[in-house]
């Protein structure tokens, strides 16, 4: 199902949750919508599900205008952040709920429930369909929620922060499983998350939102490598922000004209006085502190009145150093203008 939204506007009181959102969610693809909390991503998801009516704008599904259509008539299935599994119903009854409302015969309901439980690989747990949600692990609950959504064979699957209630290890695994499941079923999927790593790893199509607007969208690799906007760059991991420009000799000069963004992992720390390769931007600096993070050391380096982070293989002692960033990893923005690389 191809989903298209045009000019969506929604206010909550004086807060503009959606400030004119346009996008095409490609059929059969997994689109990840990512942004900080309050950016409007959940509102967008709820507009797609039909739980929220936009004040302006339209929603098309496969060319049909569904803007005023109530949730139950949209062939959308939403997986809630807290799963919203009804605690008083068994796993079977939860998954069967939508099918029974379609008045399918009991044998067909039974067949479809088993088929869907098998799809999310819950059929390996014997007797699980007779258990209640409380008796399941977080990961299992997540799969039941997916099964409940998929059982009605929706045209559009909506996932609202589906992994936020799982602990870190399970999250990695379930993320992969959702990806596999989406590939296998080919259901058009919109996946909302605040976690940029999760979004990058799972998406065919990445949408970054801020302040009720889509600030950039595209293939995840493309967006990661070429952020068009300081916000996107910062959100996707460029933690270091300097007000400055790069001089002809590669030296970083403080300036209010431009902004330089770069990632901690791209930042090198060299002893002061070492000769510098030509394709680096650099500046003299002073190491303030150095923390051991496990896989790397993270150095806190003072550069003028700013502290930047640099990930290094070895511990760097306090004192004068040179901070260097490969030029092709340096994002340079002038004022609030869109990106001009190098």
């Amino acid at each position: 199902m191809e989903v298209r939204v045009e000019g969506l506007v929604k206010r909550y009181g004086r807060v503009l949750a959606l400030a004119g959102v346009n996008h095409v969610f490609p059929s059969g693809a997994l689109t990840a919508v990512v942004g900080p909390s309050g950016c409007g991503k959940t509102t967008l998801l709820r507009v797609l599900a039909g739980f929220v009516q936009p004040e302006e704008g339209r929603v098309w599904m496969d060319g049909r205008d569904v803007t005023g259509v109530p949730p139950q008539a949209r062939r959308c299935a939403l997986v809630f952040q807290n799963y919203a599994l009804w605690p008083h119903m068994t796993v079977f009854d939860n998954v069967a709920f939508g099918l029974r409302l379609q008045r399918l015969p009991a044998s067909e309901v039974e067949r479809r429930v088993r088929e869907t439980l098998a799809l999310v690989e819950l059929d390996r747990v014997p007797g699980i369909e007779r258990r209640r949600p409380k008796e399941l692990s977080g990961g299992q609950q997540q799969r039941v929620a997916l099964a409940r959504a998929l059982a009605v064979r929706p045209g559009l699957l909506l996932l609202d922060e589906p992994l936020s209630n799982l602990d870190a290890k399970v999250r990695q695994r379930v993320r992969g499983e959702i990806r596999t499941l989406q590939r296998r079923t080919g259901i058009t999927t919109v996946y909302v998350t605040h976690d940029q790593e999760e979004a990058l790893s799972i998406a065919d199509d990445l949408v970054v939102m801020d302040g009720g607007r889509i600030v950039q969208s595209g293939r995840p690799e493309e967006v990661y490598a070429h952020p068009e906007d300081p916000f996107v760059a910062e959100f996707l991991g460029s933690t270091n922000v300097l007000n400055g420009t790069v001089g002809p000799d590669g030296r970083i000069l403080p300036s209010s004209e431009g902004r330089l963004l770069f990632r901690a992992e791209d930042t090198a720390v060299w002893p002061a006085g070492q000769s510098l390769p030509p394709d680096y931007a650099w500046a003299p600096a002073e190491v303030v502190d150095c923390l051991f993070l496990g896989h790397v050391y993270r150095a806190y380096v003072r550069l003028g009145d700013t502290v930047v982070l640099a990930d290094t293989k070895a511990r760097v002692g306090p004192g004068q150093v040179v901070v260097a960033v490969p030029r092709d990893r340096l994002l340079i923005f002038s004022g609030s203008e869109p990106a001009a690389r190098r």
Binding site: G50, Q72, A84, L101
Partner: protein, 270 residues
């Protein structure tokens, strides 16, 4: 808190305990004891008299209370579900009004409203819904009593149920709504089972309150036919001066109320 302060505070708490012991604990114990005593001798005669004179009234009381609970919850569940799903503050507010109308006032208002020549008969006659001059006999029998008890208790039940229903997260309802569940199915398949405990509690409290209702039936009854248990008790005590049989009636009402006693004690234990 040092030892002296502890003593001081405990001493200060004592009067309240003493007052309740004297005005509630002692009378309760006395009525239990008196129900087994007649003419100064221990006996079961009081209960035999209750069986002979009042067994129909016990059944009548149970019937009225059960019908009242059924009607109250049939209305209460649907109203509370409606308020939960489609907010409607002014109607919700309106329904709270009887909460602040004392039982006696309710009894009198319902008597004026429902009695055969009451304002309901007049209003329906004036609107042409019944022939003018019709005397609807709602107020005198069990039905009028059930309506009056429901009127008074519905406010509290809706208040408790709306509170319980509001505690159910939106997502559970939206999940059902997304599959096409309407207002009725969302209420009965999601809200009611997810609020089973407060619902049962409200049910027990309403039942006990209706079983022990006194002022509403006192003002509405016409003095013949079956009576509510508390009315029997009042006349047995006040007019016949028969404390023994009145106490036996009281003990029966304690037994009927044991559900509420259990529910309250459990809430204290928590």
């Amino acid at each position: 808190m040092n030892r002296w302060e502890r003593w001081g505070w405990t001493l200060a708490a004592l009067p309240a305990v003493l007052v309740l012991l004297v005005t509630f604990g002692l009378p309760l114990a006395q009525s239990l004891a008196a129900s087994f005593v007649r003419d100064g001798r221990p006996t079961l005669e009081n209960y035999a008299l209750v069986y002979r004179l009042y067994r129909q009234d016990v059944l009548y009381t149970l019937g009225v209370a059960a019908a009242g609970v059924l009607l109250t919850f049939a209305c209460g569940i649907h109203l509370a579900g409606y308020f939960r799903l489609r907010a409607w503050p002014w109607v919700e507010f309106l329904l709270k009004v009887p909460l602040f109308v004392p039982f006696v006032v309710t009894g009198h208002a319902m008597r004026v409203f429902l009695q055969p020549s009451g304002t309901l008969s007049l209003a329906l006659g004036a609107l042409g819904l019944v022939a003018p001059g019709t005397r609807l006999g709602l107020g005198e029998g069990w039905l009028g009593l059930v309506l009056a008890l429901t009127w008074k208790h519905l406010a509290l039940v809706v208040l408790l149920l709306v509170g319980a229903f509001r505690a159910v997260d939106d997502s559970y309802l939206e999940a059902a709504q997304g599959f096409g569940a309407g207002y009725l199915r969302q209420t009965w398949a999601v809200l009611v089972p997810m609020s089973a405990t407060p619902l049962a509690l409200a049910c027990v409290l309403t039942l006990t309150s209706m079983l022990g209702s006194f002022s509403i039936p006192l003002l509405m009854s016409r003095g013949s036919g079956p009576q509510m248990l508390m009315i029997d008790l009042y006349y047995r005590f006040g007019q016949h001066g028969d404390f023994g049989v009145a106490s036996a009636l009281g003990v029966i009402s304690y037994v009927l109320a044991s559900g509420a006693v259990y529910a309250y004690l459990r809430s204290v234990a928590r």
